[in-house]
């Protein structure tokens, strides 16, 4: 297809690089440098979508980020992305794009019946209609979502990868237009570390869309090139194009997204698709430009009705005529610039319809001089044309009534270029919590005082003349650098110079005068994306929604993916006028990040798959893997859960492991237990304070079990602490609590007891810890640690000694979590695997059996040993656990006073007991609730719950631990466990120690 609307020359496109693309199944050509919108317009395509609610035909409105209509589904399959603005999509060869919100096709769309039905679809329609019955909302929603617009989320996982990075700078400049470039140059020359972020593919901003502009006496393009070169030559300056600063948060934290490969035809695999920048800037220069406003008149939404400056940009930047015959409709001088540039490009400009009774201004004068047909004091009061605007009707405005008189002229056209003035892009400024103020002369909100280290410059600051933009940018960059602590610029350079034409003078009319009563004669759209009309706003006000925030939510104006970039100020103006208030009284709605939508991929970054969360592995992990262990996540650790042999079920494997530890020899990797090295002369007293029991008399070479409470008296950790030397101890903690316990101890030392001479250092990872348990543990160790005296006299239960095991320096502790004769062997972590191999080899004669966490749980449950976090839940005291024996009556410790509170002494507190089900085969589910009497249906009074439950192969039956109200007084009684499946298990309350209550197995 020919690009029949492409100008024969000019523009910033690369005519040597022709690119083929496809839109809605048809093939087109464009050039490198085009956006999708520019290339479509070059091919005469205006109709690009259907509107959200009424399914009206819509065309390209703008040439930038504010585009409400031209939302595109880009790409296919898992890479498909919805709701992208055609005005920002850079054209690449082979690009596949589809229009959205139409079925079965763009030109014939069934949903367009909504337009015919619009009388019954007023604002608030959904609220009013689907209120009742509330339970039906899910059904309504299903249908509504299907009928509603916007594109489709991609199916399948995202095949691309994304990057995230932190960044820092002295001065962030947002926007690479004239003000931003001047700011970056000034800050960079002052030696500041500058990041310049420009969302477009190129620097220049509004200059790219102009023609004949000069700065410092040279053409704008040359000035931009010189600025680009100067910035590139400064080491401390980074220029990021295709980078959108989308959010401005506290303490000058700016979130930006960089499109790294989206614009490349061939996407190099090593590059991320996009990158999230988490930037901390000392100072920010906002040079975000301004957005042209549409005019609100009847049927102002037809394809071919565009923003005037966009038409100008398409001519000058992309060498595209938007159409053949144009009418320009403006309320300000700026509209004439567009008319002149279009006329220069060969567009037949039929007329400039000007709301102002006395058009004036430099561009107006040039248009007059060139003989353009100007219709002063006139308004477009209606349009026609289904898939493209065909005609506009113009009426004279009656200065007395402020209404338009009957149509005076009907003009054929295929373009209606409108300009309703300009709105500074305040989004980031507002997100930074800066307050905005209304500027009557500009007819727009402008930045007030900044709330953070932000400097606004250029059009976003209400400066629309080029000279003002450059001067403000220069000053903002210089000041920002100074405020960031940089020395004043060595150059003392002046701001770049240029002519200073803005778009004023103008005459504001938030809604264009009409020849019909309000709401008649066609829809006057305010918000194109959400199909909100001026009449909808008035309806909301009539129905009592007077706060602008309520009007916004009720009508959904400004709530589309464009967040009302083109609509908000018009909406506020119409609301103010209807209510008879001033605009500042009405106020603005909140600007929220992101400025334009960003993809979820950037937030995931590389935190996906194997890098989702750290997987902590012990030095012996590779052996476990090769042995086919099933792993259990314990915090971030991977621990062997059980070691199934071929064909074994989990139940069989665990039974085998449990039996082996009792009958011969089990071996377990216990490396993950927390280990804290404690040194200092006050350590014994320190332990006295943090544990419930007394530590003063623990001898060197001996170990003691401790319970740690919080201030409320609740158990938070337990473990064995060994005294290694006079002032040297080694504490062990539960796996999950290693870091919190260390932090707690450090906090006590630093804040409560700074006078104590105690130093705590984590050595969890310094040692690999292997436990061997069972009757053959001692014979095996004797063989591998020949020079160590393992006699009970030399190394009794709860003793620790240094020695060499299999030639490796080790600490050997005779402690037991299984109730068996058991040794914990600590060796340097790097020797863990070697130790394991040595033990496995030498232990073969005892059929040494690796066991995992599940067997460990069964073994300890047989002995009634608690697991913190399983029997306890933060509301359990040592007394509740029947562990009074470990609570010192003499000394003070953390949590002691709490234990004497009346509530702690109540006899009906939940207490630890054992449970035996009547049927020995029945294994209670953990968490099962216990009752005295089963009622026909819940609720029924509950007296406790099952905390641990297993099949015990050593006892040949099921066992369970439970927390039951007044449990210790219920020994021998029966309790009932009604299960979810309707059955009830009858259980007897017994001692929690099921096996070897005398502890004879711990000894020879």
């Amino acid at each position: 297809m020919t690009q029949s609307f492409r100008l024969p020359e000019g523009g910033l496109i690369d005519r040597d690089r022709r690119l083929g693309f496809r839109f809605d199944g048809r093939d087109y050509m464009g050039y490198a440098g085009d956006t999708l919108a520019a290339a479509l317009l070059a091919n005469g395509v205006h109709l690009v979508g259907r509107s959200f609610k009424y399914h009206r035909t819509r065309g390209i409105l703008s040439a930038g980020a504010e585009e409400p209509n031209a939302l595109i589904q880009l790409g296919e399959g898992a890479r498909s992305e919805p709701n992208l603005r055609a005005t920002q999509i850079e054209l690449i060869d082979g690009l596949e794009a589809r229009s959205q919100n139409r079925w079965p096709s763009l030109s014939f769309d069934i949903g367009a019946f909504n337009n015919a039905l619009s009388r019954v679809l007023p604002s608030g329609f959904y609220y009013k209609t689907f209120m009742w019955p509330a339970s039906f909302w899910m059904k309504y929603e299903y249908v509504i979502r299907h009928a509603a617009g916007l594109g489709e989320a991609p199916r399948g996982r995202d095949p691309d990868h994304y990057d995230k990075t932190f960044a820092h700078c002295d001065v962030l400049v947002v926007g690479g237009g004239p003000a931003g470039l001047a700011a970056a140059l000034a800050a960079g020359r002052a030696g500041a570390r500058v990041i310049l972020a420009e969302q477009d593919s190129d620097l220049g901003g509004s200059l790219l869309g102009t023609n004949g502009t000069t700065i410092d006496g040279q053409p704008a393009a040359q000035w931009i090139a010189a600025a680009r070169a100067e910035l590139a030559a400064m080491d401390q300056v980074t220029v990021l194009t295709r980078t959108l600063a989308y959010g401005y948060f506290d303490h000058n934290f700016i979130a930006m997204v960089e499109r790294v490969t989206d614009h490349l035809g061939e996407k190099p695999g090593h590059l991320p698709r996009q990158r999230l920048w988490k930037l901390r800037a000392k100072q920010v220069v906002l040079a975000t430009g301004a957005i042209e406003r549409p005019l609100v008149f009847a049927d102002n939404d037809r394809p071919g009705i565009m923003l005037a400056d966009a038409c100008r940009t398409y001519v000058n930047r992309y060498a595209v005529r938007s159409g053949n015959k144009a009418v320009v409709f403006t309320n300000n001088d700026g509209g004439y610039t567009a008319a002149l540039d279009m006329a220069a490009a060969g567009v037949n400009v039929r007329a400039v319809v000007d709301l102002r009774a006395n058009p004036e201004g430099p561009a107006t004068e040039r248009a007059e001089a060139q003989g353009l047909h100007i219709m002063p004091g006139s308004a477009v009061v209606g349009t026609s044309g289904e898939k493209r605007v065909k005609q506009v009707r113009v009426g004279r405005v009656d200065p007395g009534s402020g209404r338009a008189l009957a149509v005076s002229e009907t003009l054929d056209c295929d373009i209606l270029a409108m300009s309703g003035g300009w709105s500074p892009a305040l989004h980031l400024f507002s997100q930074s919590r800066g307050k905005v103020v209304f500027d009557e002369a500009l007819g727009a909100f402008v930045p007030g005082d900044p709330a953070q280290g932000a400097h606004s410059a250029g059009a976003c600051n209400g400066a629309f003349g080029l000279a003002d933009c450059l001067a403000q940018g220069h000053a903002a960059g210089r000041d920002a650098a100074k405020d960031a602590g940089c020395k004043p610029g060595r150059d003392g350079a002046r701001a770049p110079e240029a002519e200073n034409h803005g778009f004023l003078p103008a005459q504001w009319a938030w809604e264009v005068p009409s020849d019909k009563p309000p709401g008649r004669g066609g829809k006057a759209f305010v918000d194109f994306q959400n199909d909100v009309t001026a009449n909808d706003l008035r309806l909301a006000l009539r129905e009592g929604y007077h706060s602008i925030e309520h009007v916004k939510r009720y009508t959904t104006t400004g709530m589309g993916t464009d967040q009302g970039k083109t609509s908000n100020v018009n909406a506020i103006g119409i609301v103010a006028k209807t209510m008879g208030r001033e605009i500042p009284e009405v106020g603005v709605t909140t600007f929220r990040p992101p400025y334009t939508p960003v993809t979820f991929g950037i937030f995931a970054g590389r935190d996906v798959d194997g890098l989702l969360d750290p997987v902590r592995k012990t030095p012996i992990h590779s052996w476990h893997e090769q042995a086919g262990a099933a792993f259990e996540d314990v915090g971030q650790w991977k621990r062997p859960w059980y070691f199934p042999k071929p064909g074994e079920t989990m139940h069989q494997a665990v039974n085998r492991e449990v039996k082996a530890a009792r009958d011969s020899l089990g071996i377990m990797d216990a490396t993950t237990l927390g280990k804290i090295d404690i040194q200092g002369k006050d350590t014994a007293e320190f332990l006295n304070r943090v544990y419930t029991n007394a530590w003063s008399k623990l001898a060197v070479g001996r170990c003691r079990y401790g319970l740690m409470l919080n201030e409320a008296g609740m158990v938070i950790d337990d473990g064995v602490t060994a005294r290694l030397g006079e002032n040297h101890y080694l504490m062990t903690t539960t796996t999950g609590n290693a870091a919190p316990v260390l932090a707690q101890l450090e906090e006590f030392l630093q804040t409560e007891w700074p006078d104590m001479e105690v130093f705590v250092t984590s050595v969890t990872e310094q040692f690999a810890t292997v436990t061997i348990a069972g009757p053959n543990a001692k014979p095996l160790l004797r063989e591998l640690a020949a020079d160590l005296d393992l006699s009970t006299e030399a190394l009794p239960h709860m003793a620790i000694a240094p020695g060499r095991v299999a030639g490796i320096d080790a600490r050997i502790a005779r402690i037991s979590f299984t109730g068996e004769m058991s040794y914990e062997i600590n060796v340097p972590a790097s020797c863990g695997l070697a130790l394991w191999h040595a033990l496995m080899t030498a232990g073969a004669k005892y059929d040494i059996t690796p066991y995992g966490t599940e067997a460990m749980h069964v073994l300890r449950a047989e002995k009634g040993f608690i697991i913190v976090g399983q029997e306890t839940d933060g509301s359990v005291t040592p007394i509740d656990l029947g562990m009074d024996w470990i609570v010192s009556k003499k000394k003070d410790f953390i949590g002691k006073r709490a234990l004497s509170r009346p509530d702690m002494l109540k006899p009906d507190r939940k207490q630890l007991v054992g449970l035996l089900s009547e049927n020995p085969e029945e294994v209670l589910p953990e968490g099962a609730q216990l009752v005295e009497r089963v009622l026909p249906k819940p609720p029924m009074p509950m007296i406790g719950h099952v905390s641990s439950s297993y099949h015990s192969p050593n006892l040949g039956r099921s066992i369970a631990l439970a927390m039951i109200k007044g449990g210790q007084a219920r020994m021998g009684q029966t309790v009932l466990a009604p299960l979810a499946d309707g059955t009830t298990v009858t259980c007897k309350v017994v001692s929690p120690v099921f096996l070897d209550p005398e502890g004879t197995r711990l000894n020879d």
Binding site: K164, R280, G610
Partner: protein
């Protein structure tokens, strides 16, 4: 000795043989495990002249007292970790260097309120260097790595992605080679950290092995 040939460095199981970035591209980043550094945690009264004097007598240099500062001799380097806390390291020390440093410090500090703890086994050391080393670290660590803010010889405790790290910008690289950092991370996090760094460095080209 069984120890010397069966010792496993934290990343030994990954079999990280040296290789280039592939397809003839230059490597923006070099990554290597530095196995068996000697690392000793030293706690003591930072305001006590006897303590500082005893350390200097043993080590031959003053303990650094500024945040993030380091000091050292040909044998060891002291990294400031916090008020009253240092890491004494010998990056190329070998398996026995930690215990050796600890022993000599304990002897030197006898009678002074201080704690000396060998933690050599508990950390992995990953050396990352090259022109893009800063950019790679910056992806996961919120500190500012600009040369104006993070200089040769400086150290800091921070995070890299989801792992706690100690970072040391080593002084033994010339500016021409680009910066070099030693990333110390808890042993169990070593594989995660290595894989994360390698993935983050992919766009710059990664060579395995020290430069």
């Amino acid at each position: 000795m069984i120890e010397s040939y069966l010792r496993q460095s934290p990343l030994a199981h990954l079999a990280l043989a040296a290789h280039g970035p592939g397809s003839g591209k230059p490597a923006g980043v070099h990554m290597a495990e530095r196995p068996f550094p000697g690392l000793v945690n030293l706690r003591g009264p930072g305001d006590n002249a006897n303590f500082h004097g005893a350390f200097k007598a043993a080590a031959g240099y003053d303990l650094p007292v500024e945040a993030g500062a380091t000091a050292g001799s040909a044998n060891t380097t002291a990294l400031w970790l916090g008020p009253g806390e240092w890491l004494i390291l010998d990056a190329r020390g070998g398996p026995k260097s930690g215990p050796r440093i600890a022993e000599s410090l304990r002897a030197a500090l006898a009678g002074i309120s201080a704690a000396v703890t060998d933690i050599s086994e508990s950390r992995a050391c990953i050396r990352i260097s090259g022109a893009k080393a800063r950019a790679v670290l910056q992806k996961g660590c919120p500190l500012d790595f600009h040369p104006r803010h993070f200089a040769q010889g400086q150290c800091a405790q921070s995070v890299l992605a989801r792992a706690a790290i100690l970072l040391h910008m080593t002084p033994d690289e010339t500016a021409a080679d680009g910066p070099a950092f030693d990333v110390y991370v808890a042993r169990s996090f070593a594989e995660y950290t290595w894989r994360w760094l390698e993935d983050a460095a992919r766009e710059f080209g990664v060579a395995r092995g020290e430069r």
